[in-house]
Symmetry: C2
Subunit: 360 residues, 2 copies
Amino acid sequence: MTPLPGSGTDPRPVSAMSRHRATMRDVAALAGVSLKTVSRVVNREPGVSATLVQRVEAAAAELDFRPNLGARSLRRADGKTATIGLVLQDLANPFSAALHRAVEDIARARGVAVLSGSVDETADRERELVTAFSSRRVDGLIIMPTGEDHGYLMLERRAGVAMVFVDRAPARLEADVVLADNEQGARDGVAHLIAHGHRRIAFLGDRSWIATEEQRYEGFLAAMAEAGLTVEPELVIKDLDTMDAADAAVVRLLGLPDPPTAIFAAQNLVTIGALRALRDAGMQHQVALVGFDDFELADLLQPAVTVVAQDPQEIGHRTAELLFARLDGDDSPWRVEVIATRLIERGSGELPPLRTPHLA
Amino acid sequence: MTPLPGSGTDPRPVSAMSRHRATMRDVAALAGVSLKTVSRVVNREPGVSATLVQRVEAAAAELDFRPNLGARSLRRADGKTATIGLVLQDLANPFSAALHRAVEDIARARGVAVLSGSVDETADRERELVTAFSSRRVDGLIIMPTGEDHGYLMLERRAGVAMVFVDRAPARLEADVVLADNEQGARDGVAHLIAHGHRRIAFLGDRSWIATEEQRYEGFLAAMAEAGLTVEPELVIKDLDTMDAADAAVVRLLGLPDPPTAIFAAQNLVTIGALRALRDAGMQHQVALVGFDDFELADLLQPAVTVVAQDPQEIGHRTAELLFARLDGDDSPWRVEVIATRLIERGSGELPPLRTPHLA
DNA sequence: TTGAAAGCGCTAACAA
DNA sequence: TTGTTAGCGCTTTCAA
């Protein structure tokens, strides 16, 4: 038996050892068995005598053997890499980060690793990421989609890659989706403002081609219609793609001859931008506000902020579970799973309408 | 030339096509060239005639060829997978999430994908994650370390895996590290409170075995010593591992016969827990507070919260750049890069000391 | 229960 | 400029 690099019988000092990673061959040689026996032990296949199992395991430990999953998936019949890809809009966004963590927890329990990346609402980057993951032969994809045509994913699907969409439905592609009940959530939030006496309610939205935004706007319209209220075009401001844009929009609203008495902010960052504007104008106790999506410290502000909360953890768990069900062979028809939202009353949404000067 | 699955000449409907991914062999056959020529074109090696380049590219596009990076790295001399592993404490934590995004941006520019995972301050999970990444043959590792012995990473290093630590230095291992200037930052924050007249300053810290916590505590001690102030043991509370624990600690402090006039909160969640307790006690305008690490909405609270801000984006960029420098062959001695912190005065840290009843 | 041989998709080394 | 052959580390298939 020849001494192997890294083995205890290797007389060279650690620093002089070659950059060698032990392979199954090395382990087999040290244990005095065949390659296939090592493979059997490593994969816990039955039918190896206890003696050999022990000898192989000792040799593997001795050499710090780490099976090469790339080589394994290359050879295996199912080609599985035990890796999935997660395409998010922005890893640093709290909603995406919470979702990411939830997916990780489910994946980890199955020994699956997660590749992830940010798309920043750019269809090209979504394709780039999918390609990058695809070249690494991920078993499945979880995608928060951007853009108007996801037909390109048919290729991946045909190649046997499982996929589930999250937060938004894909365009032109039938597929599994897990999303929050955006329309109902927005409807609840706006109805809450109406119930507190508001009639002039402003709608502030993110980029309107994002499906969730569209659905939240629909919810706003539905709640207004249900109450027999007309929607004033001057109070609907969309395409607010930054906090500052939302801030500026609220400044504009407050300067109207007949300003809104309440604001429905349809997204995270839009809500925060609106909060800043109200605070800077000293109007945070005069104008009611309900935001879509909860955020840290909403309860510590004055007034505390009433929100329609999504449950990113639940959404992430359900998404990952659906993906793994597909990987396990579930071939039932495409499913759309809708996760309920929850209205959290904290104060800002319960402010009464302010009588505006010219109405007084 | 036989029709290949997925090719335009394949008469079968899409739904009936086999789950086949085109390989270089398929592309070679369709283009009527050898395997090696396809390899050359795919890898943009020089010395292929324009005609063949075009023919190969057309065939590759036709078949939706995606090179298998796993197979490539298996065969290549350098064994590179164009994938790195990122070990964080918690993907959902805003600091970790911002760092993650910064690393992603640098990696993406180089065509490198990022595997990531959460450790939750558990040494075992750190090892598990490193093993999982190692089995997938990542080229490099970025680790936010936990635990008291990182000697086990010598194996990875010996196998040629580059590694850089972030946020904290590893234990018992010489290695590259990028971290915030925790001691100086804490010192600045506490000195700021002292400059505003405070003498009885409480220190609230996270789990004390975390290196950053230790350093921040050292900074606290240094600032106190520099001002000739004695540290009251009853005002030092460590090992606050949740927001609620921090909240409870502040409740306890406020109930002391001689409560502190100022609080230095050495970590993110600790700061928020302290804020809640002060607000619930109605003392947020009476007790000064400086927190370590900035957070969204700190400027919107009343009073707005003075913090020692880290720069997670800068930290992430520098870390990734250092890792890639190592992967590019930089073999200079281990480096410790310290990123400066910045004191942001917003109000809570500038409150004057409250005269306590028994001193009045 | 164990092992030998072939080959997954790709690139290195060499040949034409 | 293009192609042939071998083999990366592993699992499959088949034989002993």
